[in-house]
Amino acid sequence: MLIYAINRILQMIPVLFVLTVVVFTFVQLLPGDVIDTLIGDEQAEDPELRKALEEEYGLDKPIYMQYGIWLGKALQGDFGKSLITRRPISVELFESIPATVYLGLVGIGLSIIIAVPLGSIAAVKRNSATDYAAQVTSLIGISIPEFWFAIMAVLVFSLHLGWLPSSGYVSPFEDLGQSLYYLILPALAVGFRQAAYTTRLTRSSMLDEMNKEYVDTARSLGFSEPKVIYKYTLRNALIPTITISGLQLANLLGGTVVLETIFAWPGIGQAIYLAIIDHDYPLIQAGILVLGIIVVCVNLLVDLLYRVLNPRVALN
């Protein structure tokens, strides 16, 4: 497993390299530039100032050189400074990435906690009222946009019931209790929709597995039904669920801008969105690179989990 993990980590390198090239290229293709943002209207016609700023930020060099310089420094852990705030990129990322990862992990965790039991029960009690209820609930979950669910959740739980805060963020390292208090609604908004997908997937995987011969064999050997279902069947059925949850988490890391806005959650989605608007390319590059590393790591973790769930899976 260790060799497999090392191999996978080595495979990450070309993936991340291509990612940085693609992102760098696309940033260059964006209309407008950061100097325009920095100099505003007042010095719009001052070519000397533009030149001076381009020199200061290294934007006067050919694009491939800019990329090379950035990459060289990034490999040494120096992502430079934001062109807008002039704070180190590491500070910018350290403020925003943990908030998004925290939300993503808890949201996905919540979805698994809801979806796996619900999907399993629905499969075991196929065509029963429980199954129909689970299916209808998950269909509703898929059909409701996340932002609408989030707004409704704020309306009910914050505004009318007054149970939970409507927006804001507290780091778990500052105050865990408060942090969880502020996390519940955003995590629910993330988790509900993901749970709907995962419930349907778990149910169908369970049904597939339950029709396989090893399940009949286990039953014929006299194993109890709960043991057959939860020890053998569910374990195998979870492989696609884990795969999809891993992909969902990866997707969430860069794609929660709307939820971040609704819950005033200071995550990386907003940071990168604004950086794109401002052409703050060191922040865009570093943000996407770090997110890419996290996504690749999540995928690696998912692959390693296969092995845990099903030792027959070969990791070579």
Partner: protein, 543 residues
């Protein structure tokens, strides 16, 4: 409105003439010297309590921390509470003594001598003395450091002279009657020279609140500066509040919900739709405040090229047609929910620079618009209308204008872009109309001198309007001390603008704020909530 192109182009303000300034300074001198806020009778009734924290949800967050590189926009950037300039602003947006308690202007209007407030310190304890002020101005003037908007306010500085520890003399390249308002805390924020190495991470200013922490998109924490010079009528030190916590929440409804759920105490930029019935419905729980003119919305025309420019013999007819085609009442109702007012000139009735004699020259008359377009032979003419994505009222107004111009026979394409893209389009002249706005300018030179004067960078970049008579009047006004005379000159300019239509004012943009009842003594101004002498969060408290 939070910041507008105001964000990138908020321009300097000018204020009273020398006479006015000296008059104001004289009248307030005794009080200002010890920093006493006006409105004694009112203050005596208020019974303020010292302490408490205001959690303030704002639409915008600060962009960066270095005061010279970024400037803190007074309306929407929480960090505005941490800064001060040589001059302060009062509730009428008039410059009043700040760090400087007096000034002398030479007869030729080329030399300004400021007497500084003895005992005023930066938040690190260093004196705000002449040497540090000189250092600040020199740093701002460095094109690689000073934000263009900030630098433009003092671009005419020739040299600065430290006369003694508490006196600084500024020599200008050209005579100016508008320097005083240009050295108010916005944008001319003073920072401690000793803090420069860490200015991007921990700014140290000399305002009523000191910086504690900033987490982007999350919070700005500021604490009371105990050595702030201002006092109330009873001689109690201001500010009363222990701290302000800025909570940026971009969406209007998110801020409103946070107020209603008790997570914040004060919000800015209520959406116009929410504000309409809010006071009636929740007036028992919350106070609401209107800032009557935080900016002015307008349609800028491309006068450099294209069918609406003077290069087209019928360009003026087309601009007039557009002016007749736009129904201001429809914009007023649809965008601002009836809370704004139509703008015939840049300054509204609440401003000391209001021009009652300037009337809207082109009333809504779609038939006349159609006639003019036909006369110009421009039926079906392709027109590009641009607007900025960051401010809803700009592109919403753009959408309505799009429909109205299409209605009268123009083939309009509406494009919504971020600032950097718009800027390229302005530079290349790839637009014909632009739905935009400009934040309130305390002195008219900051509007006419930058957006109408043909040689200014902003005018060249955007409309490209050239009117030699207007230029002459604007330059004359820049050097005229008498306010009445200046008003006359600017009114003449405004009449020219309305006649030629290089831009068409649409609406005065209101700013609506709401807060909990326990926030006492709060009165916002044009200058927003943070930093107005004797007002805003500087003189409010939590009961």
């Amino acid at each position: 409105m939070s910041k507008d192109e105001t964000t990138h182009n908020p321009e300097s303000k000018t204020g009273p003439t020398r006479r006015q300034f000296l008059g104001t300074a004289g009248a307030v001198a005794g009080a200002a010297a010890v920093g006493v806020s006006p409105n004694k009778a009112e203050a005596a009734k208020r019974d303020p309590k010292r302490g408490g924290t205001v959690r303030f949800a704002t639409r915008a967050d600060s962009r960066g921390l270095d005061q010279h590189r970024n400037y803190y926009y007074y309306v929407s950037h929480p960090l505005a509470a941490t800064s001060m300039g040589l001059m302060d602003l009062n509730l009428k947006m008039e410059p009043v003594p700040g760090i400087a308690v007096g000034s002398e202007v030479s007869k030729d209007n080329k030399t300004y001598t400021f007497s500084l407030r003895k005992g005023a310190t930066y938040h690190d304890g260093a004196d705000v003395d002449a040497a540090s002020v000189k250092w600040n101005f020199e740093r701002i003037l460095d094109p690689k450091i000073g934000h263009p908007f900030v630098r433009a306010a003092i671009k005419d500085f020739d040299k600065m002279e430290v006369v003694d520890k508490w006196t600084i003399r500024c020599h200008l390249k050209n005579p100016s009657a508008v320097l005083i308002p240009n050295v108010t805390y916005y944008p001319m924020q003073l920072m401690s020279p000793a803090s420069v190495a860490n200015a991007d991470n921990h700014p140290i200013g000399c305002g009523p609140f000191k910086f504690k922490s900033w987490k982007k998109f999350d919070s700005t924490v500021m604490e009371r500066f105990e050595n702030w010079y201002e006092t109330d009528a009873q001689g109690n030190a201001l500010p009363y509040l222990d701290a302000i916590v800025g909570r940026p929440k971009k969406e209007d409804r998110v801020r409103l919900t946070a107020l209603r759920t008790g997570e914040v105490d004060l919000i800015d930029n209520m959406s116009y739709a929410d504000a309409t019935g809010f006071e009636k419905k929740y007036g028992d729980k919350y106070n609401t405040w209107d800032v009557p003119q935080v900016g002015t919305g307008y349609i800028g025309f491309n006068m450099k090229n294209g069918p609406m420019s003077p290069k087209n013999p019928h360009g003026k007819l087309l601009r007039q047609a557009a002016a007749h085609a736009i129904n201001h009442e429809a914009v007023h109702q649809a965008i601002f929910n009836g809370l704004s007012s139509s703008a015939p000139a840049f300054y509204s009735k609440v401003s000391p620079w209001h021009m009652p004699e300037v009337k809207r020259p082109y009333e809504f008359d779609p038939d006349k618009a159609r006639f003019l377009i036909k006369k110009a032979g421009a039926v079906g003419e392709a027109i590009i209308l641009t607007s900025r994505d960051a401010y809803a009222y700009m592109h919403q107004t753009g959408e309505i204008v799009h429909a109205m111009l299409s209605e009268v026979g123009l083939k309009v394409q509406h494009e919504i872009h971020p600032y950097s893209v718009l800027k390229q389009k302005w530079q290349k002249g790839e637009f014909h109309l632009d739905s935009t706005a400009n934040s309130y300018r305390p002195d008219p030179d900051a509007w006419y001198g930058r957006n109408v004067y043909s040689k200014s960078a902003t005018t060249k970049l955007r409309t490209g309007y050239v009117n030699e008579k207007a230029d002459k009047l604007i330059l004359e006004a820049q050097q005229t001390l008498d306010k009445a005379k200046r008003l006359e000159l600017y009114q003449a300019v405004e009449l020219m603008v309305n006649e030629e239509v290089p831009m068409l004012y649409t609406h005065y943009i209101p700013l609506l704020e709401a807060g909990v009842k326990s926030l006492k003594g709060y009165s916002p101004a044009f200058a927003g909530p943070y930093s107005t002498q004797g007002a805003g969060l500087r003189a409010s408290w939590m009961s």
